[in-house]
């Protein structure tokens, strides 16, 4: 049955080459922990992606309850945490996932660095990877404000002050992020929500796509 459906679609769209590009390739021995245990360092990139997927899913569920508004943001998180069935788990996964994704991405960066995998022909993929790192830090920074509790507000105040100390364009960045030249308040919360949920994920998806397409084109770097 499935084969028939596959054949029916394949006859019309010729999807086999797409399938081959995505999944049909050989994994060399030196990255396979089943052959060399030390090759587990090659798992960090995949685990980063794994946590990212969990972040996307848990984040989608969080927005079912979260209200990006100064009056209700904290209350909605409190309600989610204490009243909603499994709300504590979903929020917990998003909270800890944010830390784990940073840890895994950092380890992945170190692996790529110390195996010299950023060298020709993979320069572009390294640059895209560093940009993904920056987007992830941005997601961490903007997401930290959203529960609208004490630590969120005051950490964001400090963060925005640091952004404001950039020469020449500091004030512009501050107004862009906070929505106001002096107040960290209602505007800031809605802006951070928009950045956290729409702008940065969009950038992240584009960069991840570029990252993966380049890996598939170039293959994984050879053994040292």
């Amino acid at each position: 049955m499935l084969n028939k459906i596959y054949d029916w679609v394949d006859e019309r769209l010729d999807i086999t080459p797409i399938w081959r590009d995505i999944a049909d390739h050989e994994v060399p021995e030196h990255v396979n922990p089943a052959h060399h245990f030390s090759a587990f360092v090659y798992c960090f990139g995949g685990l980063t992606f794994f946590v990212t997927v969990i972040q996307i899913l848990s984040g989608m569920f969080l927005t079912m309850y979260y209200v990006p508004d100064v009056e209700n943001a904290w209350k909605s998180v409190y309600y989610l945490q204490n009243e909603v069935a499994f709300g504590e788990i979903v929020r917990g996964m998003h909270h800890w996932g944010a830390s784990l994704v940073i840890v895994m991405m950092f380890l992945h960066t170190l692996r790529v660095f110390f195996t010299g995998s950023y060298k020709k022909p993979r320069e572009l993929n390294w640059i895209v990877g560093v940009l993904i790192f920056c987007v992830m830090l941005g997601l961490g920074f903007t997401g930290y404000l959203l529960p609208w509790d004490m630590k969120a507000l005051f950490a964001t105040k400090v963060g925005i002050e640091i952004a404001a100390s950039v020469p020449f364009i500091g004030e512009l960045i501050k107004v862009l992020l906070a929505g106001d030249a002096t107040i960290i308040g209602a505007q800031t919360l809605t802006r951070f929500f928009a950045i956290h949920v729409f702008f940065l994920p969009a950038a992240l998806f584009a960069l991840l796509a570029a990252h993966f397409i380049m890996i598939r084109r170039q293959g994984i770097s050879g053994p040292l």
Partner: protein, 262 residues
């Protein structure tokens, strides 16, 4: 392979389908070493690693509920801010003399900017063909130095932070909803001439403020309240009440009566 510019990639998937059955990986003998098909063999093993990781992740989630402090209150001027743990090294850097105050730009922009810039342009700074860390000592040394500084700064930031005070300042305060009888004799003394310095810190609504705790919902007896008013407690100085001993007694009994209902 005859397409492209003659580049050869490891594990290239762009192999023509000649002589190959659909969905069947190439024969392993065509590759050096023990290669394995990504789908489904290797992906299954990756998923096993992922499953072990997921168990640890879920245990962490269940064992440590994610923290939530009290609702944001911009009027609280005494709150000591702290960023999430992965920004702690930057936060710590900004505490040093030549990275803060007039030199703020060094700690906030120049050092992080140079680091990110160097990381971004790594392939163009380290162009040699050598890949082994031991064969390219400078990049390795810089990375190890950066790593050591990040660990050191994070460590310093953690040991120098007052975690108990941080937990206390962020506590979720139970909303105390107690009707204050504004015609009570005790309340008239509190808001009257005798209680001027009471209101200054605890507020006319008795909800407290940055410098003093709320009086409503206290857990003291009348004697204890009178004791505190006379001798002070914590940041509260002694002898603030300007009324007579009888008035003090009435006031203490009134404050002690403002209990949260069980």
């Amino acid at each position: 392979m005859h397409r492209g510019k003659g580049m050869k990639f490891v594990g290239d998937s762009r192999v023509k389908a000649n002589n190959r059955m659909v969905n069947m990986p190439k024969d392993y003998s065509e590759y050096p070493g023990k290669t394995e098909a990504f789908w489904p063999d290797f992906l299954l093993k990756e998923w096993m690693v992922g499953a072990v990781f997921l168990i640890g992740y879920l245990l962490l989630t269940v064992a440590h509920p994610s923290p939530l402090e009290g609702p944001a209150d911009p009027t609280n001027a005494s709150y000591i801010p702290l960023p999430d743990w992965y920004f702690l090294f930057l936060y710590q850097l900004l505490k040093y003399t030549y990275a803060s105050g007039p030199y703020n730009i060094v700690g906030a922009i120049i050092i992080p900017g140079l680091t990110i810039g160097a990381l971004l342009l790594m392939p163009f700074l380290d162009k040699g063909p050598e890949r082994r860390p031991s064969k390219r000592p400078l990049p390795t040394a810089f990375m190890l130095l950066a790593l050591a500084s990040m660990i050191y700064l994070t460590w310093e930031s953690v040991v120098n932070h007052d975690w108990e005070a941080a937990a206390k300042q962020g506590e979720i305060k139970e909303e105390v909803d107690i009707e204050i009888d504004e015609t009570a004799e005790g309340y008239l003394i509190f808001t009257g001439e005798q209680g001027k310095s009471c209101i200054a810190c605890h507020g006319a609504d008795m909800q407290g403020g940055g410098a003093a705790p709320a009086l409503v919902g206290n857990e003291l007896t009348a004697e204890e309240v009178a004791e505190v008013i006379k001798n002070g407690r914590g940041a509260m100085p002694a002898g603030q009440f300007a009324g007579t001993d009888e008035e003090l007694q009435i006031l203490a009994e009134f404050i002690a009566s403002l209990k949260a209902e069980e």
